[in-house]
């Protein structure tokens, strides 16, 4: 199927086989298998530049049961060698019951049905499919006089075991995280959603259609238009270099220069499952310890995994703290600049005198001071991520001692500024999503600038723009601030959430096919 759609795309683009001279292998790959076994093997060998290229392995065997020679091909590193030996070579060599078959088609059937103990076996007659199969770690079995070959699944890519989430940690809730294997990730999601409506589609993309992604959605909930939109976006990706979700995210988002993300990456299977059940689409890819979720709203970035697992009071308290922290991160430095530059009367007199006394010996204007401190803090944070673990402790010393105490003693900054920057930094860690976190941290500098230029007038001007931008922003056609603006029917789960059993309505900004999660609860 993949091959046909590839040809279809090529013909749509007006490409003929003759035009693919830039890739000499293209001529081989476009063809069909022939009756000549050696010819078939030779073509695949040419494709992989055998034997100069030490990746394709060709093993000639004799199938005792059928009394024919055959060739087993696999790519070293992609296929699991032990599995090839155990599930293909050994049964072929050791099975000594005599089976009678003279026609190639019969032979293939017997091999598939009686010899090979593998789970997934299929036939193919095109080089394109064999090529793809080999690259995905499968093994190809070629027998004489047949224009069909057998593909046996033996993937042997290495991956780590399932571990705890590194970024989205919770106190209460499941503690499994995605890993770099699609199969494992899919099974982690399946573990949460045991429903036959969970549909899993394979999408191939890239110039050579070598990259695959798995798109998951609930057939009975997700909106068809949204599904098609996401699918089309992925299929339109031209580059072959998109080998993981982090690159795919950037390839399919609508506004690559926007500060706001239109896609969420989560490393938690439970979150992915929850999104699926609200009608979002989840995309998985190899080499990505995350799941891609689209479309998203502001609330997806604002909510943490734990919000639904904690009890109502605790969860809402956490949410309010988070909202407060978000505003603090974004506004406090700007507000400080605005107040000390334009609106000093706002401060209680004692505090104002204390600030001006502390600032007396600092030679710089307040905006220089605060940008200096904020940039330093950003550097500490960035170096904290990059620094090798064994020397990580030095950063704490440098940050706390040198920049806190010494900068004040040296009259570079005033002490109250250290507090401002520390509170801002602390608050910024509360924002759960890393991309939203970045967006807000960058916005902070804009607010500092406008606060310095026009005080509260400037802050308000910029704030109105930020709000209008948030409202007009869309992710795959879904308004970013919905279901708040535009107001749409949904269970209340925005800045605060309602009690879990009261959340019986799916958010209708995603146009779900089934609008209700459960029956409307009666009483309380």
């Amino acid at each position: 199927m993949a091959f046909r759609s590839w040809n279809y795309l090529r013909s749509r683009a007006g490409l003929s086989s003759a035009q693919s001279e830039s890739d000499p292998m293209r001529a081989f790959i476009d063809g069909q298998l022939t009756d000549d076994m050696l010819m078939n093997i030779q073509t695949l060998a040419n494709l992989f530049d055998y034997p100069d290229n030490d990746s394709l392995k060709i093993r000639h065997i004799h199938i005792r049961a059928l009394q024919v020679d055959a060739a087993v091909l696999y790519v070293e590193g992609a296929a699991d060698g032990q599995a090839v030996e155990r599930t293909i070579i050994r049964p072929c060599l050791e099975n000594d019951q005599q089976l009678d078959a003279h026609q190639p088609a019969e032979r293939i059937n017997i091999i598939k049905q009686q010899l090979l103990p593998s789970l997934a076996v299929k036939e193919s007659e095109t080089y394109q499919e064999l090529n793809d199969a080999l690259l995905h770690g499968n093994t190809v079995l070629i027998i004489p006089q047949s224009s069909r070959a057998i593909i046996i699944e033996t993937p042997g890519f290495e991956y780590r075991t399932v571990e705890m989430p590194q970024v989205e940690q919770v106190l209460r809730g499941p503690k499994e995280a995605f890993i770099e294997s699609t199969d494992v990730n899919r099974s982690l999601i399946r573990k949460h959603i045991k429903d036959h409506n969970l549909r899993c589609e394979k999408i191939t993309f890239g110039k050579r259609k070598q990259n695959t992604a798995l798109m998951l959605y609930m057939r009975n909930i997700a909106d068809d238009q949204t599904i098609q939109r996401v699918k089309k976006r992925i299929e339109q990706v031209e580059s072959d270099a998109v080998t993981n979700l982090f690159l795919l995210e950037q390839s399919i988002e609508e506004r690559p220069y926007s500060l706001l993300p239109s896609i969420l990456l989560t490393e938690r299977p439970d979150r992915a499952a929850a999104f699926l059940q609200e009608g979002h689409v989840v995309v998985l890819m190899d080499n990505s310890p995350v799941a891609l979720i689209a479309p998203i709203t502001f609330w997806a970035l604002f909510h943490a995994a734990e919000d639904q697992y904690q009890r109502w009071v605790v969860a809402n308290f956490m949410r309010l703290i988070r909202l407060f922290a978000m505003l603090v991160t974004m506004l406090i430095p700007g507000v400080y600049v605005a107040i000390t530059t334009f609106h000093v009367e706002m401060l209680p007199t004692d505090l104002m005198l204390a600030i001006s006394a502390a600032r007396e010996r600092v030679p710089f204007p307040i905006v220089v001071e605060i940008i200096f401190m904020e940039l330093t803090f950003e550097m500490i944070r960035e170096s904290g991520v990059r620094v090798p673990a064994p020397i990580g402790t030095t950063i704490g010393i440098v940050g706390a001692l040198v920049l806190g105490q010494a900068a004040v003693d040296a009259n570079l900054v005033s002490p109250i500024l250290v507090i401002i920057v520390a509170i801002t930094g602390l608050a910024s860690y509360i924002i759960p999503d890393i991309t939203l976190n970045f967006a807000i941290r960058v916005q902070r500098f804009m607010f500092i600038l406008f606060g310095y230029m026009f005080g509260f007038f400037g802050l308000a001007l910029y704030m109105s723009f930020v709000i209008a931008y948030l409202v007009s922003y869309k992710s795959f056609g879904v308004p970013f601030m919905s279901p708040l603006a535009p107001r749409l029917p949904a269970s209340r789960d925005m800045f605060t959430r309602s009690a879990f059993r009261q959340q019986w309505l799916r958010p209708s900004n995603l146009s779900p096919k089934e609008k209700f999660k459960q029956h409307k609860p009666e009483g309380n």
Partner: protein, 360 residues
Amino acid sequence: MQITDGKIGAREILSMIVMVVGIKATDTTPNMMIYHAQNAAWLFSLMIGVVMLIPFLVLLRLMGRYRMGLYDLLVHLTGRWVATLIVAWMFVWLFISAALNTRSYIDIVNTLFFPQTSLYFMCLFFLLFSWLVAKRGFETIGRTSWLLLSLVVFISLVLSVSIWQDMNLSHLYPLLGPGLGDLLKETPRHASLYAELVLMCFMLPYATTYRSFRQGTLLGYGLSIFVIVLLNAYYVMVFDYPAVEHISFPYQQLTRAASFGRQVAHIEAIFLGLWIITAVMHFAIYLYLTAYLFARTFRIHEFEPLILPLTGLCLLLSGFPKNVVQINEIRDMVISSASIVYLALPFVLWGLKLWRDRSS
């Protein structure tokens, strides 16, 4: 269900009306009201509201009958040329109001908070951000207004609570201020203070349904009048007449009086910030409407790109008046000269409709 089809619902219309009419309680409009109606400014604003409501209801009825927006209605009932003339006049009127109001808002901010900052520089930034909001489209303006409506309600409540102690109910008496005769005489002259309500009728095609438009405008208008009446009453109750007449910017003065105990005594800058956010929405709607009217006058189909040049022109125009006194004079003139048109237009249209019905 397609949810972003460029249409807005009753909630959005309601909040836009509040942003475009209700906010007038906080600029220099109350000065005008207090000047004419003395301590009965609150009653005066209520009377204007009622007077303006009648032609608006007629207009709503007409639009409901024909199921078309004001522009199509004008074309349908008066013919293409007369409709263009009316729209052109409305454009000029609204555009001059926009420029004057911009200047007046910036004058307030400049005088009270940033005496050392250049006025034109502030005008530039203010209009720049209004344009940035307006260019995101009518849908966005509506939804943003809806998001900010709770903020408006919240600050109104905070303000009410914080000045509670300074209010004196007896300052409202005598209830009729200069006397009923004066009030009745001045009311129709100032009807165009709320003329934006009529202008919003051009935007009926942007509403999801006629019903939601009617609901939104009527509720929004009610809420706006309530806010204006309330604030006008506050001004008189807190400052007392005639002192209130000599206060140039009553709302800002009121926020100065707002306090919560001894420590939080000067929070006017916060009120300023929240006020400016709503003001940006106010002017975004103004700019969008002017662009719409301009495009209809010259029959330009794509009008959203026009917002930028019109914003630039607005900036230039707002630089002409010399000072706040002159602005208030011009504004009073602009408002009182236009009232008759906005009051009469719906009835003229109604008459035309009757005439048509009879002749057909």
